[in-house]
């Protein structure tokens, strides 16, 4: 079980579901993404999503849905429609510049092996 919601990284966030709602049409409750801070000192991590008519209800529902066992000390809710995501199809190209740049990692530098505290 390598994947849990509690260690999903922030770049996985916008799985957002279908945002078919017209924001002006309040008869369909919009989708909200929920982020939970599990304890002080940690960042908020995506926990899941839910539907709610407004921000206040989204927060309350998030509390009841995602923190029934003390999983959180703070919650953020964000309208799913507001999440801006990178295009998954351009995966290769978009993240290309980080690849082939091993010199950005400490492990690239091997001469100092055996030298203490380096």
């Amino acid at each position: 079980m390598a994947q849990t919601d509690s260690n999903a990284s922030a770049d996985e966030v916008p799985e957002g579901g279908v945002v078919t709602e017209d924001p002006a049409d309040h008869s369909v409750w919009p989708l909200w993404e929920v982020f939970v801070r599990s304890s002080r000192g940690l960042s908020h991590v995506h926990a899941g999503s839910l539907h709610a008519p407004d921000a206040a209800m989204a927060l309350r529902n998030a509390r009841d849905l995602y923190t029934r066992r003390n999983e959180g000390t703070s919650i953020w809710v964000i309208p799913a429609a507001q999440v801006v995501a990178s295009d998954p199809d351009s995966k290769g190209g978009y993240f290309e510049s980080a690849k082939g740049k091993a010199y950005r990692h400490a492990t690239y530098y091997t001469q100092s092996e055996g030298v203490p505290h380096l």
Binding site: M1, Q3, H26, G48, P53
Partner: protein, 344 residues
Amino acid sequence: MSIKKPELRAVDSPNQPITQDAHEAADDARVGWEHFQQLMEEDKRVEPRDWMPEQYRKTLVRQVSQHAHSEIIGMQPEGNWISRAPSLKRKSVLMAKVQDEAGHGLYLYSAAETLGTSRDEMYQQLYTGKAKYSSIFNYPARTWADVGAIGWLVDGAAITNQVPLCRASYGPYGRAMVRVCKEESFHQRQGWEILYTLSHGTEEQKQMAQDAVDRTYGPALQMFGPPDGDSPNSQQSMAWNIKRFSNDDLRQRFVDMIVPQAEALGLTLPDPELKWNEERGHYDYADLDWDEFFSVVKGNGPLNHQRLAHYRAARDNGAWVREAAAAYAAKQADATRGSALLSA
């Protein structure tokens, strides 16, 4: 692998002029297909915005939404006992458990929604009776002991089924299952403890526990689905890394687990053929009543009608609340817009 090639009809169709768009679409499908194949071969996760075969998407929407519906309908047999729980402690436990099941339903609906089917559509499918849910919930919980038997055997079978689903190839489904599995373990234990208390009480209480186990055992074993020979979709689901073990394998695993648990309860499982098979290293068990199973699936279980009627009534009776909340949200949004205009 028996995975079908993606449909490239736009290009294959002889009577249609091949347009630039069709070329591009076919190209996208080919690249998407190769990427999908690679994910399957490397046993990696598919995420919502990845290209996926239409049949994979459909299979998942069906499976995940059915799973969600089962959690929602599954609240009924136990919810029925909340007001009649024998003590305040038992009542608190049962409320927490039933609330968890509502949560499981919501996690799963969210996961299904990422596949492009809206929440309202799924609610509608359940409401109209178009959607299926697990047949086990069409049986009544007759006595307090049934609440114990449901926790121990029904949640127990669900856990056995759900643990491998934590590794399902579709990311949001797997993540929902991780959350669900974390919460399920208390469900099974509290059920087992209800039965333990009864089986160590008066003769009458022990008999009540035994009767509940006798009623629940067969239908709980059927929760894993029909025997492998009669489960045509299983193979495809396994090729897609959605399902990891066959129905019969999971059922066997469950039987092997509950035999010693029943012994610890001092209760018997209602199967005279149940015995340890040294050679196989498993317990042998008798064939289940599959005619009954398919009859319940078709809608002829003891409570199919009542379960759906109750769901509809709950949804109908709650309509004014949803409408009021939506109206309030619209009014607040208008007020905000109005004051923004004034201050501009």
